[in-house]
């Protein structure tokens, strides 16, 4: 349990929410893309978030190394260290692509239909707002942590 755990956790939340915003932006930018990197119509991407355990962080490794030599006396009562959140994967949405009748389009099939990306711009906007609010919540948590640490340092004055 280090002093800056809370800030690291909030930072992981900021990273994850920023990634969600990036992916939303990518989806909106490619809402009409009929030729993706694989030559197929663009498919909507989605961020998969997963809880991160505290084991993999630098702070946890340092605490482990520090406590192996000396005996720990107090404040190690955490059951499963907290590590915040991480982006587990960026998955492709496998819902069917939209069929649009546009015979003049270069990518139209024999019947005149074009396969358009399965991006719903309204859903993307909702995701964007959700990511933005979650980002703000993490910023608030980080500011509160900063204030708390600053206040604790006042004990030395």
């Amino acid at each position: 349990m280090g002093m800056f755990d809370a800030m690291e956790i909030s930072a992981s939340g900021l990273t994850a929410e920023r990634m969600r915003m990036d992916v939303v932006a990518q989806n909106l930018a490619n809402a009409q893309t009929t030729r993706g990197v694989d030559g197929q119509p663009y498919r909507r991407k989605e961020v998969v978030l997963a809880e991160r355990g505290g084991e993999g962080t630098f702070g946890a490794a340092l605490a482990g190394a520090m406590s192996s030599g000396t005996k720990t006396t107090s404040s190690s009562g955490t059951s499963g260290a907290l590590g915040g959140v991480e982006v587990a994967a960026i998955a492709e949405d496998q819902t069917p692509l939209k069929q649009v009748y546009d015979p003049g389009h270069p990518d139209a099939d024999a019947n005149g239909y074009v396969q358009m990306p399965n991006v719903d711009s309204v859903a993307e906007m909702v995701d964007l707002i959700s990511a933005q609010r979650a980002y703000e919540a993490n910023v608030t948590a980080m500011q509160a942590a900063k204030q708390m640490f600053a206040k604790t340092l006042e004990l030395l004055r």
Binding site: M1, M3, D5, A6, M7, I9, S10, S12, G13, A16, E17, R20, L49, A50, E51, T73, S74, S75, S76, G77, T78, S79, G80, L82, G83, G84, V85, S130, A131, R133, A134, A137, N138, T140, A141, M142, A144, A145, Q147, M148, K151, T152, E154, L155
Partner: protein, 134 residues
Amino acid sequence: VESKDGRSLLLEREIRPVLFDTTQLALERAIGGAAQRHAALAANLANVNTPGYQRVDVDFQSALRGALAGGPEAVEHTTFATQRDATAVTRADGNSVDADAESAKLAANALEQQAAVSVAHTRIAILRSAMGVS
């Protein structure tokens, strides 16, 4: 100091200088507990969009209240457990974090911590004043 009769031993124990009493130790543990709780609440906010995540919390007040009954030794060695909150309402995606409630708890916890720091700071100032150091 050698003494054979129990009375002077008792006297000796009573006049043992105690710079940091139970209240001061409890304040220090409360500051630590609030920091730990803040980490837990921050983890909840970081995982507000993680499917299946169950919120965590630290009930350091109850642990401290229990330890206060056990005297200064118990208070000094109190540890707080970060626990999964199984009572919270779970959303359809298995997540039980309510961002508004977490933010409110976070603000209250920060104020609580700052109050504890203020009191601890004032007590140290009183001690310093009594010792004659500025």
